[in-house]
Symmetry: C2
Subunit: 466 residues, 2 copies
């Protein structure tokens, strides 16, 4: 944890400060001697190369005192905070569940039954508790922002939207930045009514949706330090009638808010959509929803190359959730086509069974490698994998949520993550290959803590003080 | 770390002791109230159900004093130590390297070039240092035994086998149990001579191999506390002529030592073998090497169902290395066939880019799920995934290395791992679903420490004392 020092930091207080880590992730590489100035408004005021903090380096190590407001973070690499662009926080309550298959193998839909059982059991307190657990574990793992794809709403027919506050309160209490992705959910399938636990998700048409959206927008604005914002979501083509989806998308553009939607996670969704509309979901998205840089499709597991290409060229983002897609057995997205078309990628923790941005990122690549028996599917313009993946986990996620984060640059949100260069798993890593060493060789145990809007929070269980 | 108490534990000293954790992994499930007695010979003397240690439970929590030699491990689940059945320790030096693809995508063989560059640079001190790093990180992650598939041998033509000691010294210094898998390596391919870095692997025919094997057996026997043993290895059908492989296998049976071999990791090996021998490698193994419970084939990535079935039915083990196969882009093994035929499975860390048994185990299953769009590929006889995977990581590995470990039972080696039940990621996990919660939701940060032959070692960075 941060120790109180002279006129400098007090634990959790967003006071202006200058920090210099051994290495800082700037413009796609790690650089030494970078000073980052954190402003009181929770943003990065300045980033200075080559202007080492007085007292830093060898002299400081030998005992030179730094100015109280200036901090030399020794044995630390500073990266932008990771972003999970797709989360269902309450599903933290499923950890270790839904893994029993007495009748042989299961699939996405057998898992969903376990999830619905959890849904039916949740009250406000439990929903908030599970969400808080998830958000705190996210911070421990190095995530500083979450795109919370929020669809569990009602406590009962009499207490509609009673669970909306739970997730916002949990985020505020944990101290994570949240984009509340307000989710429309109207049907149990194409022309199938809601049933059972699904009734807790219900929105009743587009007017009902926007009314709640206005209310939620006010709630979001009341969260301290501007840590919360809002986005527009149609759950999927199977859960929202197409005319409503088009209206929601138009509303998101009018409001300048991001639009998210599950797209082609499972084959059955694709087949049902073709049966109902004679087109696949992504084709409909591309043809009618004007995807662009404010648009994110979650999963895209079964999307055809031609559709993926058109989607990618629009500047839109595909958010993949490797550990969730692995757990649910969804399938394997055509990432080579997505990358070749210049598509943006983000990652999400989705069902929140495991929190480790590094694990999500390396398995984003590894799943592609084993499926295609080739290495280096996701590379940057220098042909490097680690830096490309690190950017997906930071910049890619920030773009998906329309957050001015994910890069360490002046004016951006001061959302940062401190990586422990003294950890055994990074022994021997040079600046040149550090991004790959972090992405391929580390996990939460290498995270010292995070800054969200300039506020530092130590990882629980970390033994090193910064 | 263990604190010194009365006549009880002293850090690292294998004194007789009784320990009772909240939950202990016995016969495929977690049970409360199990007392494990650790004997001075490094084995488990007794396992007693239902006989709680005096002073344990609520009374003890309220201040009741336990007998000095008896320890109540609160907030701990005790599992057998994990086993990595396949490791090349020196490849720890590649972490973060080999991830640049300036000419587009790479494959196994482009990676191998990076590995050979490391091989050429190693001297004895560096080989030992990298091995020690790997073994210590393994212990931190919860592995208590390693099958070290050792093939880097020579410092120079004049100093043959100079690197053999490095790996044994490193293991002894780290305190991990090692099975030195002594590897024959004679050729650069079918009828291709050794070249470049490969010359450092060279064995010169079967007599040369057994001479070194006798010497290594003496070295292994000199390691304290019986922490080291030896096995027989033919690197692969491409690196050892078939007649030599048959002689090595016969020698392993005569000596009662395990036999390991890489089998069908990449398609090129299969194709070259078919060209040279008119049969695929696994077919030759099944037809001519008498696989059985002492036989482990590493990878089996491209093995045909019929061959895999015959191999599995012999009682032999397939050792998969999920994160390595992911990194190298090897491909996807036919695990449903292997499981349906009753085959044993172990996991290995192989190139040692990442140490997390839980991650290896969950991705063993996840890769199968995404490839086959179904869940629950690896389940036990109750249809459960987590327990089945936990057994693969412990019993499966111990069987592959012929170690009397991997289960907590009287007479077995006292190789254990303490899991932190107070860690946030296990909040809410009941005994019934704890195995799945551990396998699917945790990593090294949940490991408090390990016992190897009854000696406790705390995870570096752990904040909780046992």
């Amino acid at each position: 944890m941060l120790r109180q020092r002279g006129g400098g930091y007090i634990r959790g207080m967003p006071v202006p400060d200058l920090i210099e880590a051994d290495l800082t992730w700037i413009d796609g590489r790690f650089e030494p001697g970078v000073t980052v100035s954190l402003a009181a408004d929770g943003r990065i005021a300045a980033v200075t190369r080559g202007a080492a903090i007085p007292g830093a380096g060898a002299a400081s190590r030998a005992g030179g005192a730094a100015s109280p407001a200036r901090r030399r973070l020794r044995g630390v690499a500073l990266v932008p905070g990771f972003v999970t662009a797709h989360s269902h926080a309450f599903q933290r309550g499923l950890r270790g569940l839904g893994e029993r298959f007495p009748d042989g193998a299961g699939d996405f839909f057998s898992w969903r039954e376990a999830m619905y059982a959890l849904v039916e059991s949740l009250d406000e307190a439990r929903a908030e508790e599970l969400s808080r657990q998830a958000f705190e574990e996210m911070l421990d793992a190095g995530y500083t922002s979450v795109g919370e794809f929020h669809y569990i709403r009602h406590l009962s027919p009499e207490r509609r939207f009673a669970l909306d506050d739970a997730v916002l309160s949990a985020a505020a209490s944990a101290g994570i930045r949240i984009v509340l992705l307000h989710t429309a959910y109207e049907a149990g399938g194409f022309d199938v009514p809601l049933r059972g636990g699904q009734r807790r998700f219900e929105t009743r048409g587009v007017d009902d949706y926007w009314r709640e959206h206005e209310r939620l927008s006010r709630d979001v604005a009341s969260i301290r330090d501007g840590l919360a914002s809002i986005g527009v979501v149609a759950h999927s083509v199977r859960a929202v009638p197409w005319p409503t989806i088009k209206l929601l998308r138009r509303g998101s553009r009018e409001r300048g808010q991001v639009f998210h939607m599950h797209v082609e996670e499972v084959q059955r969704e694709v087949e049902d959509c073709v049966a109902a509309h004679d087109r696949r979901p992504m084709r409909m998205v591309v043809d009618e929803l004007e995807p662009g840089s404010d648009f994110t499709a979650i999963h895209c597991t079964h999307t055809l190359a031609a559709d993926l290409e058109d989607f990618a060229k629009s500047g839109a983002t595909a958010c993949l959730c490797p550990s969730t897609e692995g757990n649910l057995g969804d399938g394997i997205c055509d990432l080579p086509t997505l990358r070749a078309s210049g598509g943006s990628i983000a990652v999400g923790t989705d069902l929140n069974s495991r929190f480790s941005p590094q694990e999500e990122l390396r398995w984003l690549e590894y799943v592609q490698r084993v499926a295609r028996t080739r290495r280096g599917v996701i590379v940057d313009d220098r042909g490097e994998t680690g830096p490309a993946l690190l950017r997906i986990g930071t910049e890619g996620g920030a773009k998906s949520l329309s957050l001015d984060a994910g890069r360490i640059r002046p004016g951006a949100l001061a959302d940062l993550c401190a990586i422990d260069l003294e950890h055994a798993s990074l022994e021997g890593a040079s600046a040149e290959m550090l991004a790959s060493a972090i992405v391929f060789g580390t996990g939460p145990e290498c995270v010292l803590g995070t800054w969200v809007g300039g506020r530092f929070r130590a990882r629980r269980g970390s033994t090193r003080c910064l």
